[in-house]
Symmetry: C2
Subunit: 148 residues, 2 copies
């Protein structure tokens, strides 16, 4: 990841975000957190080796995307679980954008769709570009400008 933090990349929000989110497994771990996983063993369900899981949870906590919270069940010791911070929750559009792209361009076979659901209306939600006046903008009508 260091090589991606050249002077020019260091001020680029995309490169900066990728410095932590681009590390293997991190976005899938965040997805797990979004669907409710909190415990070490729950995060293992994505198939990540435990050594990597331990290291990644540490990275996500240090980067402020997850936080540790102590919990204790009856007859059990105090343990720690991992919960999304606001910064972690703010990564939701990244996951949604990846999901949208994957749905559109990959052959994923027959399966129930993954869902991003509006809690208040109960209907599914997807990402759109919106301009400063609140108008929808088609993605093909959005240009990326490099800072000078």
């Amino acid at each position: 990841m260091d090589a991606m933090l050249l002077p020019a990349n260091k001020t680029c929000p995309i490169a900066g975000a990728l410095a932590v989110l681009g590390q293997k497994w991190n976005l899938l771990l965040l997805r797990e957190a979004f669907v409710g996983s909190t415990r070490f063993a729950e995060f293992q369900r994505i198939g990540i080796p435990t050594a990597t899981l331990g290291a990644r949870l540490e990275v996500l906590v240090e980067a402020g995307l997850l936080e540790r919270q102590a919990y204790q069940e009856e007859g059990e010791r105090t343990r720690e679980e991992y919960r999304l911070t606001q910064a972690g929750r703010d990564a939701l559009p990244i996951l949604a954008a990846l999901a949208q792209w994957g749905e559109t361009h990959l052959d994923l076979g027959a399966r129930p769709k993954v869902g991003f659901v509006s809690v208040s209306s109960g209907s599914s939600a997807h990402l759109e570009f919106v301009d400063e006046n609140g108008k929808l903008v088609k993605a093909d009508n959005v240009r990326v400008e490099r800072a000078a």
Copy 2:
């Protein structure tokens, strides 16, 4: 990346997208393509080693995000440049989501902002969640559902 394609992950659009887009450098290369880079040497500006660049461009072409096009300048040989396909262009929300997160949560220092601009209105564009009825949904009001 293979371990991320467990049976359960294989049908997940996020994991599937990450199988190609999650590879180091690929999203930054797409960003370069969006701002107009087409040639091998132009992509090098992100600081990627040439060996990795060669391999990555091949991956992005094979995955259908970039395509090669022959070009020839006067007095020069025929060369190939790399241009976004529709699948490549459809990755724009991913870059925008990363940029939004980076802008919000990283200390990037003083610099001109990176821009996503609506071509027709000239104003900046950002991502929002929208429900099936076209209504804006706040991200904190979006729930991620795991497929059963």
